[in-house]
């Protein structure tokens, strides 16, 4: 892929093909010197409580729109050859992959930073909600203040 190529953004129920995602980012060429990859997994413990199932609900249409905005914001900050964001919804078990963010760039700094940026921003902005079930109980996961601090930290860095 070349700079400016359309990002790969997918919201899907099926598992994430990690090898396929890396392959799609391109194996070098076009100035690519670094691929950075983040994969989020379902934890088996949440604040000490066992988790048997994690159900992700989302807002179809708005989710894709927000992910595209986050991707565009990353491409404004860093020169990226390719980006991939794949986020799952539905009922997942501990160890299952939830999200994959992968970034290709010329150098590692841009790849690492852009990957982190996309993960931070999507956590605070993409319309997903998590329902945890375990030990006979169910509850909706509350948003974490630290996540908003991470996402807003990027704004502070920009304006300072």
């Amino acid at each position: 892929m070349r700079p400016g190529d359309a990002p790969l953004i997918r919201v899907q129920a099926e598992d994430i093909d990690v090898a396929g995602a890396i392959e799609a980012l391109g194996s070098g060429g076009h100035g690519v010197g670094a691929l950075a990859l983040f994969i989020g997994l379902v934890r088996d413990l949440s604040d000490g409580r066992p988790v048997d199932w994690l159900t992700l609900e989302h807002f179809p249409g708005m989710t894709e729109k927000v992910l595209a905005e986050v991707d565009a914001a990353a491409r404004e900050r860093w020169l990226l050859q390719a980006t991939t964001i794949i986020h799952r919804f539905g009922r997942l078990a501990p160890g299952d992959r939830i999200v994959l963010v992968a970034v290709a760039s010329a150098h590692r700094d841009a790849a690492f930073e852009a990957c982190r940026f996309i993960v931070d921003q999507l956590k605070s902005n993409a319309p997903f909600w998590k329902l945890e079930e375990g030990a006979g109980e169910r509850h909706w996961v509350a948003a974490r203040a630290e996540d908003n601090v991470s996402a807003e930290g990027w704004h502070r860095r920009e304006t300072s």
Binding site: G40, L56, E57, H58, F59, G61, M62, K65, H87, I98, V99, V119, L122, K123, S124, N125, A126, P127, F128, W129, K130, L131, W140, V141, A142, A143, R144, D147
Partner: protein, 83 residues
């Protein structure tokens, strides 16, 4: 107007949305919440406390003083928890 509910807002409302015809007196998100809550006790429960609920008009998150119009899509949901 199409109104949508997600996550625990949807569960408290007992449904995933409403199709409503907006009276002329309802011009902001805050007024919409008040109007929807007056129509239905389950909606009133789902949309309170109001500071626990986030609002998107036409798929963009907005504040309570944001204007609403008859052909908008308005979604109510808890703070998001993706990733």
């Amino acid at each position: 107007m199409r109104v949508l509910y997600f996550a625990w807002v949807r569960e408290k409302a007992g449904r995933d949305g409403d199709d409503v015809t907006l009276p002329a007196t309802v011009t902001t998100v805050a007024e919409l919440i008040e109007w929807l809550s007056a129509r239905s006790p389950s909606t009133a429960r789902a949309l309170s406390p109001v500071d626990a609920v986030r609002v998107a008009v036409n798929r963009t998150v907005v504040d309570l003083d944001h204007p609403v119009a008859a052909d908008d899509e308005v979604a109510f949901f808890p703070p998001v928890t993706g990733g």
